[in-house]
Symmetry: none
Subunit: 152 residues, 2 copies
């Protein structure tokens, strides 16, 4: 249940907002604020929240789209196509593969942790396991090996 926290986070946030909503409404009826101002505030706040939620939804589960191989005149272009068989044989779990991709993009452990909403020790555990499976001892080696195996 890796998303449990995420969902909980969203939920808490929404709950807080609901309370805020009530509060603002209260102020509205006491202080007689301008309706348009009130509406604007609500709309803005919820838009911002929505943007944040939307980005996090996508970020948390963007599975890597396997690019379709480009074939022209029966010639398959080497478009960094993923070798599914090698990838399968590596037996990487979702987290490991996810982290591998971030490593390949030059992310530090700290950045990976922030991106995936995980603690740094967790990242280290995953990277260690990843290195075992790839039979390497460092992130640059991991990237190199992954490219050799055409899984990136």
């Amino acid at each position: 249940m890796k998303n449990f926290k995420l969902v909980l986070l969203f939920g808490s946030l929404l709950a807080v907002l609901a309370v805020l909503l009530q509060f603002f409404e209260y102020k509205y009826f006491i202080g007689r604020l301008d309706t348009s101002v009130y509406t604007s505030v609500v709309a803005t706040v919820f838009t911002v929240v929505g943007v944040w939620v939307g980005m996090n939804i996508l970020k948390s589960e963007k599975e890597v789209p396997t690019p379709a191989p480009i074939i022209v005149n029966n010639i398959v272009a080497p478009t960094n196509e993923i070798n599914e068989e090698n990838l399968k044989n590596l037996n990487l779990n979702d987290r490991e593969y996810e982290i591998l991709q971030l490593i390949a993009k030059g992310y530090s452990n700290k950045e990976i942790a922030q991106t995936l909403f995980l603690a740094i020790p967790t990242i280290k555990t995953h990277t260690s396991n990843l290195y075992s499976k790839l039979e390497v001892r460092s992130r640059t080696q991991a990237v190199h090996r992954a490219r050799e195996l055409e899984v990136l």
Copy 2:
């Protein structure tokens, strides 16, 4: 999209709760229903809009660095070609480029030093300068950047 449903479910639940809350309040403040419902609708709509916007922001962000495949005579050229112009603009000297290649192969500083018959501090100096020119701060970032620029 397995989490999407979850989040959606949770969101819906909260929305329902919010509505119930509004209704409950209505019992005690007749005439307030109009604004309450209105507010809920506004909040919901703008949250949805926000989510949509957020997801689209990320989606558009993702499709940046896809280099256009080179097509000559209807044959897609292998994209592993080195972009000589970029390489030239980087202004790397021989050592730096040499070291960049070794880094990309997963070599440690020690291994690079042994390979090139240099001292480790020398390697560090070169890598530092290399990072400056590539505008990065680590070897994995350097490799990533170099691939972006097609100089590897």
